[in-house]
Symmetry: C2
Subunit: 137 residues, 2 copies
DNA sequence: ATATATATGAAAACCTTTCTCATTTACACC
DNA sequence: GGTGTAAATGAGAAAGGTTTTCATATATAT
């Protein structure tokens, strides 16, 4: 019952919010831009404004329901938050996104921040490359 | 003699290009946005268009003379290329940028790409935090 | 010196994201 | 179930960084 998730986050339960959540939960593209979500909703026959999609996604991010990736050069994609941190591999040919977790890297990052006297608040790591699928074509 | 660098890159030797190069070589802010470079040139009394600065920096990037960092949220900064790869720590309070190299992380990235079947072409890693200077204030 | 391909500056266009504001809606309360 | 009020919405304008357009100027080969 996702209405509860919204209430818990202090957000009123509105149709646009439920619909955005529904898209994120049912898509097979785990990582979607605001535009992607917007278009998916239009195709579903929903009437929604793009500004609302941006607002709702930003609110969801604030509520910890989704997380935002800032892909190279001002283009954000969103994904449902699953509680576990991970980083991303991006195919430069087809834009496929894969996920990974690496404890060695996570630990080294903390060590580097400490060495440099930084109180680490966050990090972003993207590996770019050509995915298996695109190599054979 | 930086004229040679330009010629080697197949770029005509023009005043705007020489001046942008000069700024990058003499600034004490190793990482500068296009706007930073533009303003520095205006203060020097140079007449140059912002579009030219963007163009020249992009050409320099193509020629391997500078590298571009895409900071979180559509704002690029440039630095003179020194041949050696490094990653960055960014202070979220004062925007200070520090550099680091970590071979363990570099190696793990290659291993992860290989595991996932990616032919790695590049990567980007930013550690965000509060710098030493900003912690005591 | 001349010709020609290339570079420049100013302004307009671009693209993603945010803001404004008039209108609609959710929900607490009676 | 109505009502009031604060919050949410949609349309379009605005923002902010970057790129494009196009007429003019410049570098370089001959
Ligand atoms: Mn992900
Ligand atoms: Mn650097
Ligand atoms: Zn691919
Ligand atoms: Zn700082």
């Amino acid at each position: 019952m996702e209405s509860q998730d919204l209430r818990k986050a202090g957000l009123k339960v509105t149709l646009p919010r439920l619909k955005v959540l529904e898209i994120l939960e049912t898509t097979d593209h785990r990582h979607m831009s605001a535009e992607d979500v917007y278009k998916a909703l239009l195709e579903m026959g929903e009437e929604i404004g793009l500004a609302t999609v941006y607002r709702v996604l930003t609110q969801f991010e604030g509520a910890g329901l989704v997380s935002r990736l800032s892909i190279d050069g001002g283009h954000a994609v969103f994904e449902l938050e699953d509680g576990s941190h991970h980083d991303h591999l991006l195919c430069v040919r087809c834009n496929r996104i894969e996920e990974f977790v690496d404890d060695v890297i996570e630990k080294r990052q903390r060590a580097i921040a400490a060495e440099k006297g930084f109180e680490m608040t966050d990090h972003s790591l993207y590996i770019y490359g050509i995915c298996r699928h695109c190599q054979s074509s």
